[in-house]
Amino acid sequence: MATDTLDQKHTELSTDNGSWEGGEYPFKVGYGKLMIWYFLLSDAFTFAGFLIAYGTLRFSTPTWPVPDYVFRLFPFLDGSHPLLFVTFMTFVLLFSSFTMIRAVQEGHRENRRGIVIWMFLTILGGLGFLGCQAWEWTTLIGKEHMSLTTNPFGAHTEAGIYLGPDGKQSEESFEAHTSYIIHKMDFSADHEAAGHATEGEHAGTGHATEGEHKEEAGAEGGHGGHAYAAPGDYPDAKVDERGYIHRKYIVASGENAGKVMSENFGPKAFGALFFFITGFHGFHVFSGVLFLLTILVNVMGGVYVARRNRNEMVEKIGLYWHFVDLVWVFVFLVFYLL
């Protein structure tokens, strides 16, 4: 298989099936490779547009959810692990980028077995990344109740002291720019549970909710939490109709010092931007996996041997795959690091 690898670049090009009819190869590459470069250029502008929109909106609001607070959970581990999981995701994608370049190199020396092995590993990396993203999204949506239009992650603009259940100042105080999450009570689930239980067991149901809530609160570092029976105005919090608990606090600094306020939702755009941009990137990874699979099947079937162009198709999907990694470098920077 590796016998005809000594071919000079331009003899390979001349055996190409003639996409460029002018006799000369513009920029000394095949048509498809040049065009994938221009496609990637346009895609880069699309992603740049999204990320710039994120930056603009972030600059336009006084507070923004702090990424090391928003992305602090890790599967199967308790407590706060800021940025650990996304770093892991980055490594999965980097690893698959490396296996991809190895596949391209094996393609250049016409080693079909090598291409298949390395492309297979690349696909595994892609699927692993998608799995991580699925976990990240599930946690944000299911556990932390973030949605396209509701952003429970906020940051205080002033220092303050939380109110206790008796409506008086508690021990818990915070500095300006401290992040918080607005927890959510699931009243509908409560009603179902209550419906099944007899009246005598009501206290038990309430207790279970409390335990669940405490567990959730413990995961993000000790915001004391307890159960509320229904939406309404409580001494220490306002619970809205959807069950979000807006804790009350006394402002300790700034022009509002002394006033009692309740925690507000964070900037609304955050959820939409996050799901849209990481979703768009994830969709690129997903379609990349599909392309990789198709090309892997073709490689195994020997389709590209017949073309005698040193597996240029593997090189092209390689370019796309590296581009997905390249975009992630900036998504990672903008969403998680800055």
């Binding site: 920029f27 603009t56 909106l57 336009s60 006084p62 090391d68 940025l83 390689g318 470098v329 800055l338």
Partner: protein, 125 residues
């Protein structure tokens, strides 16, 4: 060709190691900036952010020039792809400036709304 192949293999390995190390350093910088590494110490935001941005650009350079082989392509191809990307530099500056202007004007709009509210009852009476 055989020599080329082992050389390319080495470069790929070297590049991925650099990328991994730079990523780890970036995360450490982000955490230091937010006060996680040294207890209670928040490193200057501007310095940390510009460090992380330049490291990400370096990572992008490695991916495009080594992994995507831009280094070995014809100069015309390189220019026709990379020069348009430079337009983004201005886009970033202009839009972030715009976002900042919105933030500053929010206060102005807020104050103006208050003025109109206090004047409206006077007119209707």
């Amino acid at each position: 060709m055989g020599h080329d192949y082992t050389g390319a293999k080495k470069i790929a390995l070297k590049t991925i190691i650099i990328l991994a190390v730079v990523t780890v350093v970036e995360v450490l910088i982000a955490l230091t900036g937010k006060g996680y590494i040294v207890e209670g110490y928040h490193a200057p935001k501007l310095l940390m952010n510009s460090l992380m941005i330049s490291m990400s650009i370096y990572k992008a350079y490695l991916i495009v020039f080594e992994f995507m082989h831009m280094k070995y392509e014809a100069k015309g191809l390189m220019m026709s792809v990379l020069l348009p990307v430079c337009l983004l530099i201005w886009a970033v500056i202009a839009f972030l400036y715009e976002g900042n202007a919105w933030k500053n004007n929010r206060r102005v709009v807020h104050d103006r709304d208050k003025i109109e509210l206090t004047h409206t009852p006077a007119k209707t009476e």
